[in-house]
Amino acid sequence: VTTITHSPVRVATKTEILDGELFFVDGVLVAVASKLSSSHNSEAGKWFTEACFGQLESTQKRLFDTLPDLTAFIAQHYA
């Protein structure tokens, strides 16, 4: 049974600093996600995978509406 956890972090883009989350599978870092700010227009508030590692590395960078959606996506790749 894999355990997926996340903990808050601040993420730098070239133009601003965003709230983000580090995602771990059994304590191993697999993704850095940021919550998009108002400067991202209609995507504001969504979660974006800024960087992915391990099984997620070959996935496309993409958007999720909620943190549970992102957690479910990670779970799929570590099922």
Partner: protein, 241 residues
């Protein structure tokens, strides 16, 4: 006659006699309007005619699994968007409009007929397709080796420079109806990064991009960031510069 958009484009690549110009213009069938976001030529089809874009904006692309696509090039007025199909017969990519466009067909058997009669015209058309290949080499280099900000800067420089060459610039501005999703699919970056990169270029006061109009505020700096050197476009006026 030289003001015809297709001749403006071809004359960037070589001189043509009046007879050759007339022969080329005679290839262009009655133009028609095509709505935005319509696939005009499908990959793996075998069209009997090539298409020339007289107005609007189009792109070549390859479809991938899911809803992914790679945009291979943008087509601006004057571009013959699939002269390849005359030689290669079966399309290895698709062509679609991005905005409402005006296009005209050029029948393959008539292209062959005119090319056999006018070797210099054939040479100029050949040169035009060679320059397209040069643009692909440039994109490959840029996308393969440069960071997102350079890719976007390069793309904007190229579109501005090409539009200006066919008389579609007004001062430092051109109509550039690309969405962030188009830019992302052309440059191999996410839509989020396309958005951020455009903002970065705006914040640096290099460009303005609003209501589908691109204004270049600092050409020199934008070209530097994009590693844009116009030589690869092989326009005659720039040969010796």
């Amino acid at each position: 006659m030289d003001s015809h958009i297709v001749l403006r484009k071809l004359l960037l690549h070589g001189d043509l006699s009046t007879e050759e110009k007339n022969a080329f213009l005679s290839l262009i069938e009655t133009p028609r309007t095509v709505e935005a976001q319509r696939v005009m030529v499908e990959e793996e089809s075998a069209p009997q005619h090539s298409l020339v874009l007289l107005d609007g904006f189009a792109c070549r692309f390859k479809s991938l699994t899911g809803d992914r696509r790679q945009i291979l090039s943008f087509q601006i007025p004057g571009d013959i968007s699939d002269v390849h199909s005359y030689i290669l017969k079966v399309m290895d990519h698709s062509v679609m409009t991005l905005t409402q466009s005006i296009v005209a067909e050029m029948k393959h058997d008539r292209i062959r007929e005119v090319c056999e009669r006018f070797p210099n015209l054939t040479h100029v058309i050949w040169r035009d397709t060679m320059v397209e290949s040069a643009i692909f080499r440039e994109w490959l280099t840029t996308i393969g080796q440069l960071p997102a900000v350079s890719r976007v800067a390069h793309l904007l420089c190229e579109q501005y420079f090409r539009l200006k060459a066919v008389g579609r610039a007004s001062g430092n501005s051109v109509s550039l109806p690309l969405t962030q999703s188009d830019i992302a699919d052309a440059l191999g970056i996410s839509v989020v990064h396309a958005n951020r990169t455009l903002q970065e270029l705006r914040q640096m006061r290099l460009i303005e991009l609003r209501s589908r109009t691109l204004t270049i505020l600092d050409w020199e700096q934008l070209a530097k960031i994009g590693v844009f050197r116009q030589r690869y476009l092989h326009y005659r006026d720039h040969h010796h510069s």
